[in-house]
C-alpha cells in the first residue's frame, strides 16, 4: 500500500513534472490568467495522463518496441481529442477561452515522458497512480500561478472580487512578462524551500 502511495505522491512534490523536469511549462504560463482556466486545464492533463498511463501499460504485451512512440502518441491524441470534444459539447465558453491549449496537451512532454519512463515498464494500477500524480503535480503549480495572477492581476478569484473596490489591479501580471516573472520567482522559491533539510 505504502508503495502505491509513494507512486502517487512522488510526482506531486518530490519529482514535480514542472519544477523537477521542466516539462509542460508552456501551458502552465498560458492558461493561468484565470483560476477556472487553470482548474479545467489541470483536470484535462490529469485525466489524459491517467488514461494514457492505463492504456500504454495495457498495451505493453502487444506493442513492439520499435513502434511504441507512435502508439503512445496515438493513445495520447485520442484521449486529448475526447476531452476536447467533451469540453466543446458541455462548456463551450471555456473551450473558446483555452483555445488551442487543450489540443496542445498532445505535445505536452509530461504525458509522453511519463508513458515512456513509467507506464511502459509497470503494471496497470501503478501506471494509473503515476498518471494521476503527475497530473495533480501539474495542477497545483498551475493553481498557485493562477491564484496570484487572477487575484492581483484582475482583483478576482473564480469571478468573485477579492481586492477592495478602487484598488488598481496589477495588469502586468495578466500580460506575458508577468507570467514569466511569476514562474521564475516560483521556481526560485521552490528551490529555496527544497534545499532546507
Amino acid at each position: 500500500m505504502s508503495r502505491h502511495l509513494a507512486t502517487l505522491v512522488t510526482p506531486i512534490w518530490k519529482e514535480n513534472p514542472i519544477f523537477f523536469h521542466v516539462l509542460g511549462i508552456c501551458s502552465a504560463l498560458a492558461v493561468t490568467t484565470r483560476v477556472s482556466n487553470a482548474l479545467v486545464m489541470g483536470a484535462a492533463v490529469t485525466c489524459t495522463a491517467a488514461a494514457t498511463g492505463v492504456f500504454v501499460s495495457l498495451l505493453r504485451p502487444v506493442v513492439h518496441r520499435s513502434v511504441r512512440l507512435v502508439v503512445e502518441m496515438l493513445v495520447i491524441a485520442t484521449f486529448v481529442i475526447l476531452f476536447d470534444l467533451m469540453l466543446k459539447a458541455f462548456w463551450y465558453d471555456m473551450s473558446r477561452q483555452l483555445g488551442p491549449y487543450v489540443g496542445l496537451i498532445v505535445t505536452n512532454c509530461i504525458l509522453l515522458g511519463r508513458a515512456e519512463a513509467f507506464a511502459l515498464k509497470n503494471p496497470v494500477f501503478p501506471s494509473l497512480l503515476d498518471g494521476l500524480g503527475s497530473g495533480l503535480g501539474y495542477t497545483w503549480v498551475l493553481l498557485v500561478v493562477a491564484v496570484f495572477r487572477e487575484s492581483l492581476g484582475a482583483g478576482t478569484l473564480l469571478g468573485f472580487r477579492v481586492l477592495p473596490e478602487g484598488a488598481a489591479p496589477a495588469q502586468a501580471l495578466f500580460l506575458p512578462p508577468g507570467a514569466f516573472f511569476l514562474m521564475g520567482l516560483l521556481v526560485w522559491g521552490l528551490h529555496a524551500v527544497r534545499r532546507r533539510p
Binding site: A30, I81, G99, T107, F181, G184, V187, A192
Partner: protein, 211 residues
C-alpha cells in the same frame, strides 16, 4: 477586422514581433530553455523550427481545408462527404504530418547533404514534440487563415522563435559571468530574463495588429 483580409506580410511581421509565438503565446518553452544554453545549438534548432514550421503549416493547411474541414469532401458521390465528420481527427493528422515531414527531411538530408544533416540532424527529431509547430497549425485553423496567410504565419512564427532563442542564447552567454542567486540559476533566471525580453517586445505592439 476580418481575419481573412489581413495581408500575409502583416501576418509575417506580427508573428515575428508583436505576436511572437514564444513571448506572447508561450509555445516552445521546453526546447527554448534547454537549447538556449549554447549559441550554436540555438541557431541550429531555430533554423530547423523555421524550416519545419513553414512547410508543415502549408501541408496541414491543404490537408485541413481540402480533406478534413466540414464540407470539404462534399464532392463525393451519394452525399457521403456531408455525412462524415473528419474535423475531430485534425489533431492526430497534424501531429502525424509533422512527424512524417521531419522524418522525410531527415532522410533527404542524410542522403544528399551530410553537412546540413550534421548541423541540424540532432534537432530534427526534437521538433516533433516542439509545441510551437503544432500550435501554429492549431492557431491557423482557429483564426481561419487562407493559404498564403497560413504560410506567412508559419514562416513568421519560426523566425520569431529563432529570434527569441538567439537573443536568449546571447544573453545567457553573458549571464555566465554574473553572480546569480543560487536557487535562481538555470531555469529561474532564464524565465525572468525571458520576462524582460517579452516586456521589450511589447514595445512593438503598436506596429501591426492582427487580432
Amino acid at each position: 477586422m476580418n481575419p481573412g483580409d489581413i495581408s500575409p506580410v502583416t501576418i509575417l511581421i506580427a508573428a515575428i514581433f508583436t505576436n511572437n509565438i514564444l513571448l506572447s503565446h508561450y509555445l516552445g518553452m521546453c526546447s527554448f530553455i534547454a537549447l538556449s544554453r549554447r549559441l550554436d545549438t540555438a541557431v541550429g534548432m531555430g533554423l530547423a523550427v523555421t524550416f519545419v514550421s513553414t512547410f508543415t503549416t502549408a501541408l496541414n493547411w491543404v490537408i485541413y481545408h481540402r480533406v478534413l474541414a466540414r464540407g470539404a469532401l462534399s464532392w463525393l458521390p451519394g452525399g457521403l462527404g456531408d455525412r462524415v465528420q473528419l474535423e475531430i481527427f485534425a489533431l492526430i493528422v497534424f501531429i502525424a504530418v509533422i512527424a512524417a515531414f521531419v522524418q522525410v527531411v531527415e532522410m533527404i538530408l542524410e542522403r544528399f547533404s551530410p553537412a546540413m544533416h550534421q548541423a541540424l540532424g540532432l534537432f530534427l527529431p526534437l521538433i516533433t514534440v516542439n509545441c510551437a509547430i503544432l500550435g501554429v497549425a492549431l492557431f491557423m485553423v482557429i483564426r481561419g487563415y487562407g493559404f498564403f496567410q497560413a504560410v506567412a504565419y508559419g514562416f513568421g512564427s519560426g523566425l520569431g522563435w529563432l529570434l527569441a532563442v538567439l537573443l536568449m542564447a546571447g544573453l545567457r552567454r553573458r549571464l555566465r559571468f554574473s553572480t546569480v542567486p543560487r536557487g535562481l540559476e538555470g531555469v529561474g533566471i532564464t524565465l525572468i530574463v525571458t520576462g524582460i525580453m517579452a516586456m521589450a517586445f511589447m514595445a512593438f505592439a503598436g506596429m501591426v495588429r492582427i487580432q
